[in-house]
C-alpha cells in the first residue's frame, strides 16, 4: 500500500504552481491521466525523490520515504523506485547487458528478488545483450529500459508515458510484456499515459489530475461519469468508452453481440479460448469514427446504428463535438463532426439522432477487468 500526502509550490513562467495530492493506492496498477501541465511528471518526480515536496509524507508499506514532520527525506538512490521514461534513457556507452546490470550490481545481494535470467527471459531480450543502445529499435529500447528498472527489484515502478514515442504496432508488441510484469512480478505500478486503451489493458484503476490536484481516483467505469472528468475527456485523449453486456458470441465468428441499454452493438472480437464468454465488455471508440444521422439508414454496410439524444454541442476549432446519451442507457458518446453538418442537419440539444459506428472502428478493451 502506498500512502501519499504531498504538497509543493514552485514558481514557473505562469506564476506559482501548487501541487497537493492525497491518496492511498492499494491497486497493483494505477493509470494516471491529466492534461499537459497538470503536474503528473512533478508528482512522479516527488515519489521518486527527484523533486523535494514542501510538506507531507510518503509511505511505501511501512517504509517512510518522506515525512516533513519527522524530517525524513530518503535520497533517490536509496528509494529503490524503478522508473521507465518515454525516452528510454539507456546509457549510450554501455551495451544492453551492462545497462541491465547497472542497478542490479549496486543492489545488496539480500535485496535481489528478481534474477537477471528471469527478467531477460520474461522480456525476451536475451539476443540483444551484446548490442549498444543505438542499435536497438524503439520497442527493444523500452523493453531493455523496463528490464533495467525491474532488476533493482523495485518496491514500486513509475512509468512515465513509456509507450508514447512508439507507433501503434510497436505498442501492441510491448503491452503484453507490461501485462506479464504486472501478472508475474507483483510490483505496484503508476502508469502515466495519454491513451486510455493502453491503461485499461493493464488496470481499471485510474487517477485523474488537473492543475496539481487529484480530480478523481477509482475504477474508470465509475469516475468517467464525474462531471469534470467528462469535460476533460477530449483533452485527455480519453476516447469514448462504452460498457456493454455480452449477449451472444457465435463460435467461429469474428465478432460478438452486446447490449447497451436495449440496443445491440456488434463488436469485433477474437476469443482467447474456444469456450464462449459471457459477462460485460468494455470497448473504446474514437470520437472521429462516429457519424450522426437523422434517421436509421438502410442499404448501408454500417450495422451499428444506435438511437440517441443530443446533450451538448461544443465547437472546437473547425470541428464540433456532439455529446449524446444512448437511448435507454446512461452511456454517453462524443461524436466529432464538421460545423457544416451540424448546421445542415439542425443538430441541437435534444435532437433525436442515430450514431453510426463501423464495427471495425470499435476497439475491445480487456474484458476481464470489469
Amino acid at each position: 500500500m502506498i500512502d501519499i500526502d504531498l504538497q509543493r509550490t514552485h514558481k514557473n513562467s505562469l506564476g506559482d504552481f501548487s501541487l497537493d495530492i492525497k491518496c492511498m493506492i492499494e491497486a497493483p496498477v494505477v493509470g494516471l491521466f491529466g492534461p499537459s501541465g497538470a503536474g503528473k511528471s512533478t508528482f512522479l518526480a516527488m515519489i521518486a525523490g527527484l523533486v523535494k515536496p514542501d510538506a507531507g509524507h510518503l509511505y511505501l508499506d511501512d517504509d517512510c520515504l518522506f515525512d516533513s514532520k519527522r524530517g525524513i527525506d530518503m535520497p533517490i538512490h536509496q528509494r529503490r523506485i524503478g522508473m521507465v521514461f518515454q525516452d528510454s534513457r539507456l546509457f549510450p556507452h554501455l551495451n544492453v547487458e551492462n545497462n541491465l546490470k547497472y542497478g542490479f550490481k549496486l543492489l545488496p545481494e539480500k535485496s535481489k528478488r528478481l534474477g537477471f535470467k528471469k527478467i531477460v527471459t520474461l522480456l525476451e531480450i536475451g539476443h540483444l545483450l551484446a548490442q549498444k543502445p543505438h542499435q536497438l529499435s524503439g520497442g527493444e529500447k523500452q523493453r531493455v529500459a523496463l528490464g533495467r528498472a525491474l532488476l533493482i527489484s523495485p518496491r514500486m515502478l513509475l512509468l512515465d508515458e513509456p509507450l508514447a514515442s512508439l507507433d501503434v504496432r510497436l505498442k501492441q508488441q510491448i503491452l503484453p510484456f507490461l501485462k506479464r510484469v504486472k501478472d508475474d512480478l507483483n510490483i505496484p505500478m503508476v502508469y502515466v499515459s495519454h491513451a486510455i486503451d493502453e491503461v485499461l489493458t493493464l488496470t481499471s484503476q485510474v487517477a485523474i489530475m488537473e492543475q496539481g490536484a487529484l480530480l478523481a481516483y477509482g475504477k474508470f467505469s465509475e469516475i468517467i461519469h464525474h462531471e469534470r472528468v467528462l469535460a476533460l475527456a477530449q483533452t485527455l485523449g480519453l476516447e469514448n468508452v462504452l460498457y456493454a453486456k455480452i449477449l451472444t458470441q457465435e463460435l467461429g465468428e469474428a465478432y460478438l453481440t452486446a447490449l447497451i441499454g436495449s440496443q445491440q452493438l456488434y463488436i469485433p472480437f477474437t476469443p482467447p479460448s474456444p469456450h464462449s464468454i459471457l459477462g460485460n465488455i468494455t470497448v473504446s471508440i474514437a470520437a472521429s469514427n462516429i457519424a450522426l444521422s437523422l434517421n436509421k439508414v438502410s442499404g448501408v454496410t454500417i450495422q451499428n446504428q444506435l438511437a440517441c439524444t443530443v446533450t451538448a454541442v461544443e465547437p472546437v476549432g473547425n470541428r464540433v463535438l456532439v455529446t449524446v446519451i444512448l437511448e435507454a442507457s446512461t452511456n454517453h458518446l462524443i461524436a466529432e463532426v464538421t460545423a457544416r453538418s451540424v448546421q445542415d442537419l439542425h443538430i441541437g440539444i435534444g435532437s433525436k439522432l442515430y450514431c453510426l459506428i463501423k464495427t471495425q472502428s470499435i476497439y475491445p478493451l480487456d474484458r476481464t477487468l470489469d
Binding site: 521518486a48 538512490h77 522508473m83 521514461f85 534513457r89 556507452h93 547497472y102 542497478g103 533493482i152
Partner: protein, 242 residues
C-alpha cells in the same frame, strides 16, 4: 659544415626539447583532476561566487602572460608570500626551477582544460544521470560511471589543448622562472634565446619546425582520440557532425 648538420639537433637543443615535453606532461597531469572538478562545479552546480570563480579561471586567457608570471613570482618567489614559507618550512624553492615552469604553464593552460571539459560535462543528458540515480547509484557513482565516460571526448580535447598550450608557454614562464639552460629553458625560450644571438637563426629555425611538428602531432592525436572516445560512447556515425 656538413649538410646533415642542418637537420641535426645539438645537445642543448635536445635538452630544451626534452625539458619542454617533461614540463608539458607534468602540467597536463597536474591540471587533470582539478580541471575536471572545476569544470563539473561550473557545469552542474549553482553556488554563491560561481561567476567570480568562472572569471578567475578564465583570467589567464585574457591577461598578458607576463601578469600571471609576475603574480606567481610575488607569491611563490623566494621573497614571496608562500615561497618564503616553503623555503623556511621545507627548504623548497620553486622559483627558477622546472617545477616552477610546470606551475606557470599549468596556470596558463588551466582555462583551456576547464572550458573544454565544462562544455562536455554540461552536454551530458541530465536524464541519464537521473536514471542512474533512480537505479541506486550514489551521486559520486553517477559521476564516475555516467557523466565522466560520456564527457570523455571533451575532457581529452581539453587535456591535449592544455598540453599544447604548455609546450608553447613563454611569457609567464620567463617572468616567473627565468631562462636557465637545462632547468627552465623550454623550446619557446630556446627559440627566443637563439634569435637574440648572432648566427642563431638556423638553430632557431630547427626548433620552430620542431615546435610546429609537435603541436601538429598533438592536435592530430586529439582528433583521433576524440573520435575513438566518441565511438566508444556509442554515438557512432555522428562524429563527423560534432
Amino acid at each position: 659544415m656538413a649538410t646533415d648538420a642542418i637537420f641535426t639537433l645539438s645537445p642543448t637543443e635536445v635538452e630544451a626539447l626534452m625539458l619542454s615535453i617533461k614540463v608539458a606532461v607534468y602540467c597536463t597531469l597536474a591540471i587533470c583532476i582539478p580541471g575536471v572538478a572545476v569544470a563539473w562545479l561550473l557545469a552542474k552546480k549553482s553556488f554563491i561566487g560561481k561567476s567570480f570563480l568562472d572569471s578567475l579561471v578564465h583570467l589567464p586567457l585574457v591577461l598578458p602572460p607576463v601578469v600571471p608570471g609576475f603574480l606567481l613570482l610575488l607569491l611563490l618567489g623566494s621573497q614571496g608570500f608562500i615561497g618564503k614559507w616553503l623555503q623556511h618550512t621545507f627548504g623548497i624553492s620553486i622559483a627558477f626551477t622546472w617545477v616552477g615552469a610546470v606551475i606557470a604553464s599549468a596556470v596558463m593552460a588551466f582555462p583551456l582544460m576547464v572550458r573544454s571539459a565544462r562544455l562536455a560535462i554540461s552536454q551530458v543528458d541530465r536524464g541519464l544521470e537521473t536514471a542512474a540515480q533512480s537505479l541506486g547509484a550514489h551521486p559520486f557513482k553517477v559521476f564516475a560511471t555516467v557523466t565522466l565516460p560520456l564527457s570523455m571526448p571533451g575532457i581529452i580535447t581539453g587535456l591535449i589543448l592544455a598540453f599544447s598550450r604548455s609546450l608553447g608557454e613563454f611569457g609567464a614562464t620567463i617572468t616567473f622562472v627565468g631562462n636557465i639552460q637545462g632547468e627552465t629553458r623550454t623550446l619557446p625560450l630556446a627559440i627566443y634565446t637563439y634569435t637574440q644571438i648572432p648566427g642563431g637563426d638556423l638553430a632557431a629555425m630547427r626548433l620552430v619546425v620542431l615546435s610546429m611538428l609537435i603541436a601538429l602531432g598533438a592536435l592530430m592525436m586529439s582528433d583521433i582520440l576524440e573520435r575513438k572516445a566518441t565511438q566508444r560512447i556509442g554515438r557512432g556515425l555522428k562524429v563527423e557532425h560534432d
